[in-house]
């Protein structure tokens, strides 16, 4: 615990839920933990209501474990399966409506800059593919155009899963889903390329099949967003419930897609962002 605000007032320990007490005693705030520390501390995510084998659950767990500064990070979410998880996440997190997440994050980050000029407050958007690539795309892109200092993480399960498995802009062409009864007629949206063109200083596409890669991407994205500009990460998070595969096949499915060349891990770093990362590395060596 790096901040006294997380301490429980004397006399109230017993009435706090056990998982909260555990969080206070052994949480990740200010510890500099990463994914390799999972299992050794009380995680930010508590038991969640998502389906067995949910790719989103894996991505959220790893992304939260990768945050460089959880004690001063506020998450902005959106409607979807992920919004069922966040009430059980031990960070301030906002879910207001479907699709407005990057607009909310823009206002939030600016207000936090005004109120805490001498302190870093990271604002990270974590939302699904429908929220990011469809209903909220204009606000996502406009936040990039404005060069807002926020990180946007898309949990890409290639469908509207929470409403019962409908086609989204991120579904693959030909996929037969609700509202696409004869198969999707147009290709999966290419958000990483869009993000780069729209001004993101750092863009990565990866998945929970590569925890280390995911961790590095999240850390870089959050650090770069602080100083350089907006960053975007797309996490392929397959949905066993709506795509009808077995819960234990989530990670094998990602790896199979990689093998077939259908999904590829990508990374783009702008020159300015690279110089910034180099300067951090220099400072660390000294």
């Amino acid at each position: 615990m790096n901040k006294p605000i997380f301490q429980i007032s004397p006399g109230f320990e017993e009435i706090m839920p056990p998982e909260y007490r555990e969080l206070v005693a052994n949480g990740p705030y200010g510890k500099g933990f990463g994914v390799s520390d999972l299992g050794s501390y009380k995680e930010l995510i508590e038991e969640h209501p998502l389906c067995a084998g949910c790719g989103l659950a894996l991505s959220i767990r790893l992304a939260l474990a990768s945050l460089p500064n959880p004690g001063d990070t506020v998450i902005v979410g959106s409607t979807g399966c992920s919004s069922l998880v966040f009430p059980q996440v031990a960070l301030h997190n906002i879910h207001s409506l479907f699709g407005n997440q990057n607009a909310v994050a823009s206002g939030l980050k600016r207000a936090l800059k005004l109120r805490f000029p001498d302190k870093v407050k990271d604002v990270v958007v974590i939302a699904g593919d429908g929220a990011t690539a469809d209903i909220g795309l204009d606000m996502v892109m406009q936040s990039w155009f404005r060069r807002e200092n926020i990180t946007t993480i898309m949990l890409d399960n290639e469908a509207y899963a929470n409403t019962g498995g409908q086609e989204s802009g991120m579904s693959r062409q030909g996929a037969v889903l609700n509202m696409a009864p004869t198969g999707k007629k147009f290709p999966k949206a290419t958000l990483p390329e869009v993000a780069q063109a729209a001004g993101c200083a750092y863009v990565a596409a990866t998945s929970p099949a590569h925890p280390r890669m995911l961790e590095k991407a999240v850390r870089k994205a959050v650090l770069i967003a602080r100083e350089v500009g907006p960053t975007y990460i797309q996490l392929f998070s397959p949905c066993p419930t709506n795509y009808k595969f077995k819960p234990q096949e989530t990670i094998p499915l990602i790896k199979q897609r990689e093998k077939e060349g259908i999904f590829r891990n990508q990374e783009y770093i702008s020159d300015e962002a690279q110089r910034f990362l180099d300067s951090l590395e220099e400072a660390r060596k000294k």
Binding site: I5, F6, P17, E19, Y20, L23, E46, E47, G71, D72, T73, V74, V76, S83, L84, P87, Q88, V89, A90, L91, H92, N93, I94, H95, S96, L97, N100, A103, V104, A105, S106, G107, L108, K109, R110, A111, L112, K113, L114, R115, F116, K121, D138, M139, Q142, R146, N162
Partner: protein, 389 residues
């Protein structure tokens, strides 16, 4: 930017010496924002709101506001304002007609999130055929969003209600958004003599720690104890939690009444209270009704006027008391739907006394003579039916 001293809202609104200025309603709202110690404003252009937000942008350039930007659409404006307020900032924005409707999904979110956002609405037509002309149908569409709604008659009200809006909205027991509505063009684009408090005074900064809900800044402990989110669960506990939250929003609006009385001098105002014929109006229809009163009184017809300043909460009890002795209540308004007429009818017993009209819309002005005709017509009908009985 001139140096500003912090003063309390009561002093700023009621005690500080005022100087007369001949300005538009748009300028008046910017003068209020200048004195409101606003952290952040966000704007999207729409007629007839734009001029006021240009001026608010200039306040940012001059240093009176700490952050400002032009956003991508009104839904995004209201979402970003929501985010800035969740982060603990005092915020301001404004919109009009179609912008209000585009942003509609956000207003219940502001109220549900218990945010003391002040938003000005320069009302205009919203329908097809397209209209940028004055009318206030959008107010009828916002009656149940949970926000407090004040209706300004003129530039003076507009200025004072924006400042009073912050004072009321930020009361810990209220903490709700306040919409300050004005009939576009009539009040925004016409110059009037407006009394302004000194420009070297401003409200105290907003302290988010006085809010009844936590600020999203990771400076208070994160909660993580909602094992059953209020959202999407069909069980009794989730349903009851959700319902009680809504009830508390409504209760907070009820608790705003005493603060509105303090900062607006009442939720309504009455002129010639003893008259048996009363006009009940809000916004610029009040000004037109004042003229109608003059015309009626010149003809020896005794009539009075009730100006409703607060639409939400609605002054049901005050209105019932003020109209108890009246035989005829006429409600002129600037929209086709007649929402104020419905509100008045719903608040009163013997509501066949209420004539909902005249209604002007599509950009037409309201000739005082039309209000006079409506009153005379209603009196004649009443006399005929009395004679026939």
């Amino acid at each position: 930017m001139g140096k500003q001293q912090i003063t309390d809202p009561h002093h700023l609104l009621f005690e500080a010496p005022r100087v007369q200025s001949f300005i538009t309603g748009s300028e008046a709202v910017a003068e209020a924002v200048k004195r409101a110690n606003v952290d952040m404003a966000i704007a999207y252009p729409i007629t007839p709101q734009s001029e006021s937000m240009h001026l608010v942008g200039e306040l940012f350039e001059q240093g009176y506001i700490r952050d400002f930007y032009r956003a991508e659409n009104e839904f995004a404006v209201m979402a970003a304002i929501h985010g800035a307020s969740l982060g603990g900032g005092r915020v301001f924005t404004a919109t009009s007609g179609p912008g209000t409707l585009r942003a509609m999904e956000m207003f219940p979110v502001w109220a549900g999130a218990r945010q003391p956002i002040v938003c000005a609405f320069m009302c205009r037509g919203v329908s097809l055929p397209p209209s940028i002309q004055p009318e206030n149908i959008e107010m009828g569409m916002l009656l149940d969003t949970g926000m407090l709604m004040l209706h300004a008659e003129d530039g003076q009200d507009f200025h004072d209600m924006v400042l009073a809006g912050y004072a009321v909205a930020e009361q810990p027991e209220v903490h709700l958004p306040v919409g300050v509505f004005v009939d576009g063009f009539f009040a925004t684009h016409t110059k009037d003599r407006i009394l302004l408090p000194p420009a070297d005074l401003k409200l105290p900064p907003y302290d988010p720690r006085t809010a009844p809900v936590p600020t999203f800044d990771m400076e208070t402990p994160p909660m993580r104890i909602t094992r059953d989110p209020l959202l999407n669960k069909s069980n009794f506990i989730s349903g009851a939690a959700n319902a009680s939250w809504h009830q508390e929003v409504l209760a907070a609006a009820e608790r705003s009444r005493r603060h509105l009385r303090t900062y607006l001098g009442g939720l309504l105002e009455v002129e010639s209270p003893k008259a048996k014929t009363l006009i009940v109006a809000s916004g610029t229809a009040v000004s037109q009704s004042r003229e109608a009163l003059r015309l009626l009184q010149a003809e020896g017809i005794d009539a009075g006027l009730i100006k409703i300043k607060s639409i939400r909460p609605f002054p049901e009890e005050e209105l019932a008391e003020a109209t108890d002795h009246a035989d005829l209540i006429v409600v002129p308004e600037f929209n086709a739907g007649g929402w104020l007429g419905r509100e008045v009818k719903a608040a009163l017993d013997r509501n066949r006394r209420v004539v909902s009209g005249p209604r002007l819309f599509g950009g037409m002005s309201m000739p005082p003579g039309l209000i006079v005709e409506t009153i005379k017509g209603a009196m004649a009908t009443k006399n005929r039916s009395a004679g026939g009985a």
